[in-house]
C-alpha cells in the first residue's frame, strides 16, 4: 500500500470539484467555532472572575454599556452599506462603474421594470457578460419621462426619482421588507428590485412620438379628474439604449436632452387667453370692446398690437376692415389680440398677477415623491412689471412678453377647466392616490370657459380640427418668439361635455396653432377614444 503524504491528499482535495463545498463547510465551521468560543467565554466567566472590585461597579458597567452601544451603532451604520446598500443609489452606481469584483451583486442587480398603466414594459434590466444593463423597448419615445440609468452617465427621469424603489431598497409593505430580508439572508447574486407602474399609456405616447416626427416640441396628455399623466413627450429625443459621451458634449443645437414638456419655458401666446378670460369673467366683464383693424397700443411710442388677420390681408396686398365690436366669447373664438390686450389693461396690475398666480404660475409641481427621491418641475413664470408699464401688461395679456409657460403647465390649466376649475396634482405613478393641487377658478367660470373653448373648435380658430365623432374643446396659440418662426400651440380637452382627457401640444416654430399643433391634438384625442380611454 503506497503511503500518501498528507499534503498530497490536501492538494488533491483543493484541486477537486468538491472543494467549493468543503470550503463552505470550513467557513461554517469557522463561524461555529467562534460562536462556541464566545459561549465558552460566557460559561467560564464565573471561573475566571476577578475578585470584587474596590471601585464603584456602577461606573464600570456604565462604561462597558457605553462602549457596547457605540460599537453597536457602528455596526448598524456598517449594515446600512453592507446589507442595505441598495438604499443608496449613488453607491450602487459607484459599484457598477468602479468595482472590478466580478461577484459583486450590484453588477447583476435586476432593477425593477418600469411599466405603463396597462403593464407594457417601458424599461427592464437585462444581463450580458455578467453585467446587468437597462433596456428600453420604446427607445426615444420615452427617453425623457422614463429617463435612463447608466452607471457612468447617471440617472434621469423616473429612473432617477424612483431609483431606490427600482433597486429594491424602498419596500412599501411588510412583504416587501420580507423579500429584501430574504435576498440579504441568502445573499442573492441577482438581487431583484421592485417594478414601478406608471400612469402613462405606451401606445398613445408612441403615437404622439410618431405624429411629432422630426418636429421639435412637446405633447402632454392627462386625465383631468385624477391628474394621471397619459403622455409626457418631448422631441427631439435621444436613444436611452445608447447613452454615450457625444450626447453630453452639447454640440447638438436641437438639445435632445432637454425635457421640453416639463423644463421648456415658452411664450404661451393665445393659449394664455384662457387665463385672462377667467380673470375677466370673475371680474364680471360683459359687453363689448371695439377692435379696430390698425390695432391697439398703450402709448404712441410702442408698436401697435394687431390681429393676425391684419398681417394676412397685408401680405395678400389687400386691406382688412377689422373686427369692430367684439364680445368676450367671439373674441376668444377668433383669438383677437386687440381685444385681449385692451381687456388686460382694463384691470390693475395686481389683479392680473393675483389671477395668474391662482393658475399656479411661479411655482413648482411634484411629479414623483418618496422618502428616497423626488422629481419636481417648474411651472410657468411671470416677470414682475412696474405698475406704470401698461404696454408690458397688454403684451402679457396676449401671452407674450413677460409670461412663459411649460407644456405641462398649460396642459394642467386645460385640465383644470375640464375639471370644474380644480387642478389635480399631476402624477406619474399609478399607485399614488389622486390629490387635488389647487382650485384655479370657480366652477361657474370653468363652465363658461368650456363653452368658449368648444366654440373655438366649432367656429373659431380651431375649426379645422372639428371632428364628427368627438367634441373637442380647446384654444389655439401662435406664440411669436425672437428665435424665428412662431411656436404652434394647442391646449384643450375632450369630450367637451364630460372631459376625460386634457392635452397640450407644442410644435416649436410650427407657425399657426391651428396648422401644426391642433391636428396632432385631434389625432391623439381620436386615438384615445378608439382605445376606450375617453369613457
Amino acid at each position: 500500500m503506497p503511503s500518501t503524504h498528507p499534503l498530497e491528499v490536501l492538494n488533491a482535495l483543493v484541486g477537486s470539484d468538491a472543494w467549493p463545498i468543503l470550503r463552505l463547510g470550513l467557513q461554517v465551521g469557522f463561524f461555529l467555532v467562534v460562536v462556541l468560543l464566545l459561549k465558552r467565554m460566557l460559561d467560564l466567566r464565573p471561573l475566571t472572575r476577578l475578585p470584587q472590585p474596590s471601585r464603584p461597579d456602577r461606573v464600570y458597567r456604565g462604561l462597558v454599556v457605553f462602549l457596547a452601544v457605540l460599537f453597536a451603532a457602528l455596526l448598524l451604520h456598517q449594515a446600512s452599506w453592507q446589507l442595505t446598500g441598495v438604499l443608496r443609489p449613488e453607491f450602487v452606481n459607484f459599484m457598477q462603474l468602479h468595482d472590478r469584483r466580478q461577484f459583486n451583486p450590484a453588477h447583476r442587480l435586476q432593477r425593477g421594470r418600469i411599466l405603463d398603466h396597462r403593464g407594457t414594459v417601458l424599461a427592464e434590466s437585462q444581463e450580458a457578460l455578467g453585467r446587468a444593463y437597462r433596456h428600453y423597448p420604446y427607445g426615444r419615445a420615452f427617453a425623457h419621462v422614463v429617463g435612463y440609468q447608466d452607471p457612468k452617465f447617471g440617472t434621469t427621469g423616473v429612473e432617477d426619482a424612483a431609483s431606490v424603489h427600482l433597486n429594491g431598497g424602498a419596500p412599501a409593505s411588510l412583504r416587501g421588507w420580507g423579500e429584501l430580508g430574504r435576498q440579504i439572508l441568502i445573499q442573492d447574486p441577482r438581487p431583484r428590485g421592485q417594478d414601478l407602474v406608471l400612469t402613462l399609456d405606451a401606445e398613445l405616447q408612441q403615437a404622439a412620438f410618431e405624429l411629432m416626427g422630426e418636429r421639435r416640441g412637446a405633447v402632454v396628455l392627462l386625465h383631468p379628474q385624477t391628474g394621471a399623466l397619459r403622455v409626457l413627450l418631448s422631441t427631439p429625443a435621444f436613444d436611452p439604449n445608447r447613452i454615450g459621451p457625444e450626447l453630453f458634449r452639447g454640440a447638438d443645437p436641437s438639445t435632445p436632452l432637454l425635457n421640453r414638456a416639463t423644463q421648456g419655458l415658452y411664450p404661451p401666446g393665445s393659449t394664455f387667453k384662457v387665463v385672462l378670460a377667467a380673470q375677466a369673467l370673475d371680474a364680471g366683464f360683459s359687453g363689448t370692446l371695439h377692435c379696430p383693424a390698425e390695432g391697439f397700443t398703450t402709448s404712441s411710442r410702442y408698436k401697435k398690437i394687431r390681429d393676425h388677420e391684419y398681417y394676412t390681408a397685408r401680405e395678400g396686398g389687400g386691406t382688412w376692415k377689422g373686427f369692430g365690436d367684439l364680445d368676450l366669447g367671439t373674441a376668444f373664438a377668433k383669438s383677437s389680440n386687440v381685444f385681449f390686450a385692451q381687456l388686460g389693461v382694463r384691470y390693475p396690475h395686481d389683479a392680473f398677477y393675483r389671477n395668474a398666480e391662482r393658475f399656479y404660475f411661479n411655482r413648482r409641481l411634484t411629479l414623483y415623491e418618496s422618502p428616497y427621491g423626488r422629481w419636481s418641475v417648474p411651472t410657468g413664470s411671470l416677470t414682475a412689471l412696474e405698475d406704470s408699464d401698461q404696454y408690458g401688461l397688454a403684451q402679457m395679456s396676449i401671452g407674450q412678453g413677460g409670461v412663459l409657460a411649460t407644456p405641462l403647465h398649460l396642459a394642467l390649466i386645460a385640465a383644470a377647466v375640464a375639471n370644474q376649475g380644480v387642478a389635480m396634482q399631476p402624477r406619474l405613478v399609478e399607485a399614488d392616490p389622486p390629490t387635488s393641487l389647487a382650485r384655479f377658478m370657480p366652477a361657474a367660470t370653468a363652465a363658461r370657459l368650456t363653452e368658449m373653448m368648444r366654440r373655438v373648435v366649432t367656429e373659431g380658430t380651431g375649426r379645422t380640427i372639428n371632428a364628427k365623432q368627438l367634441a373637442i374643446a380647446g384654444k389655439t396659440g401662435t406664440a411669436e418668439n425672437a428665435q424665428g418662426e412662431a411656436h404652434s400651440w394647442f391646449i384643450g380637452f375632450a369630450p367637451a361635455d364630460k372631459p376625460t382627457l386634457a392635452m397640450a401640444v407644442l410644435v416649436e416654430g410650427g407657425g399657426w396653432g391651428s396648422r401644426a399643433a391642433a391636428p396632432i391634438a385631434r389625432e391623439l384625442a381620436l386615438r384615445a377614444q378608439a382605445r376606450g380611454m375617453l369613457q
Binding site: 467565554m41 457602528l74 459607484f94 440579504i184
Partner: protein, 485 residues
Amino acid sequence: MSPPHAPHALNLRDAWDRRWPERQLLALCTLAITLGFLMTLGESPTGEQAPSAGELLPALLYALSLAAIHLTLVACRFRGDQMLVGAAAFLFGFGLLAQHRLGATDAGGGLGGYAFPLGIAVLLITLVGFMRGRYQRLAAVPWLWAGLSLGLLAVLLILGQRFRGGVYAPGLITPTELLKLTLVVFLAGYIHRHQQALGTWTGPVPLPPLGPLWPLAAFWLVLGGLLLLQRDIGMFLILSLTLVVLLAAGTGRIGYLVYGVVAAGGLGYLVLYLFAHGQRRLQAWQDPFADPTGASWQILQGLSGMYSGGLWGQGFGQGNPEYTPIAESDFIYAVIGEELGFLGCTLVVILFLILFARGLSIAWRSRSSFGFLLGVGLTSVIATQTFLNLGGVTAFIPLTGLTLPLISHGGSSLLTAFAMLGLILAISEDHPAAAQPGPTPPAAPRPRKGPARSAPPKGSAPRPTRRRPRPAGAGPTGGPPPAAR
C-alpha cells in the same frame, strides 16, 4: 511597597490546573484559526498554485505561539486574567490569518513575517517583567516617560520621511506607535502622583486646579505641536482622549470630561482649518460621492467590497481585497467584511468588546491607583484606536488613517499592542485577593474533561463539572474550594 505575594505557595501542578479555562479558550482559538487557514488554501494571493507546506506554516506558528504563551504563564505561576488572553489570542490570530491571506506575511515591509513571533516575545517579556506588581516601578519617574516620548518625536521629525501624508522613520517603521505606551505610563504616573491636587476643584464656576495642571498642559502643547507637524492627527486624538479619560478616572471629576469635550471641539475646528489633509477627509466622509474617484476612492472601494461580502461573506480567500488600496493595514476591516461578511465583522467586534470590558475590569480591580490608571489608559488607547479605525472604514466617522489594533499589518503597531497587552495582564495579577495567601478564589480547579482524560489527582475534593461550573460551597467570589492537598 512590594505587595506580599506568595508565589511559591503554588506548585506547578496547581498552576497548570488553575489555568484550564485559558487552555480551553486557546484550544478553541487554534481550531478556529486553523479552519481559517484551511479556507485560504489554493487561494494564494500570488496566483494559482497548489498548496504547499509553507501555506500552513503560519497556522503551526500560531498554535506554537499559543502554547508558548500558555506554558510560560503556567511556569511563572501567573495568577492573572485568563479571559483576556483568550480574547486577545483570537484577535491576533485573526490578524495573522488576514495578513497571510493578503500575502503580507511572506513579503517585506517593516518587520514582515518576523513581527508576529517578535510580538509574542514582547508580550511575554513585558508580562514576566512587570508581573507580581513590578509594574508599579514604572510610576517612579513619570517625567522620564514624557521625555522619552518627546525625544522619539523629535528624532522622527529630523530623520523621518514623508509617506501618504504622514511622517515615517526609514523602513516605514512608525516609532510614534510607542507613544501609546510611554505616554499612558507617564499620564498614569503623573495623575497618580497628583491625584489629590487634581481632584480639588474650587471657585463658584467649577474650574480645575491650575497648579498641578499647568505642567501637563505645557507638555501637551509641545506634544500636540510635534504630532501635528507630522500630520499625525489620529494619534493626537487617541492620546488626548486618553488624557481626559485618565484625569476623570483618577479624580472622579466628570468636569474634566466636559472641559475635554469643549477643548476637543475647538481644537478639532482649528486642525481642520489648518490642514487641507484633514479637510479633504472630512469632505470625503460627509459626501463620499462628491469625488468618488478621488478623495473617496479608497473608502468606497472598501465599502464596495463589504457590500459584495453581504451577510455571510464570500469566504476567506475568495474576495478581491487587491481592489481596496492599503487593504492590509488601515482597511483590513473592509477585507474581513468582504470575505467573512457582516457576521464575521460582528464576531470580531464582539471579541474586541470583550477585550475592552476585560481590560477595564482588570483596571477596576487593581489594588493601586496607579494600576487602575494604567489599565484604564491602555484600554482606552486600544478602544479608541479600534473605534477610529472601524468607524473610518465604514464611513461612520471621518477617516483618521489608524491601524486596527492586533489585526492590521504593521510591525510597530503590532509590537506596541502586544506590549500593552502584556502590561494589562501584569496588572490583572494585582488584585486584593492575590495578596491573600493560600488558594485563590478564581482558581476553581480543572474539572474532569471526560473519561479519556487522565484522572484527577488522588485525594482531591469534589470537582466542579463542566456543566455546573459553580458547585455548592465553591462560589467563585466566596470561599475557595476546599482543595485538600
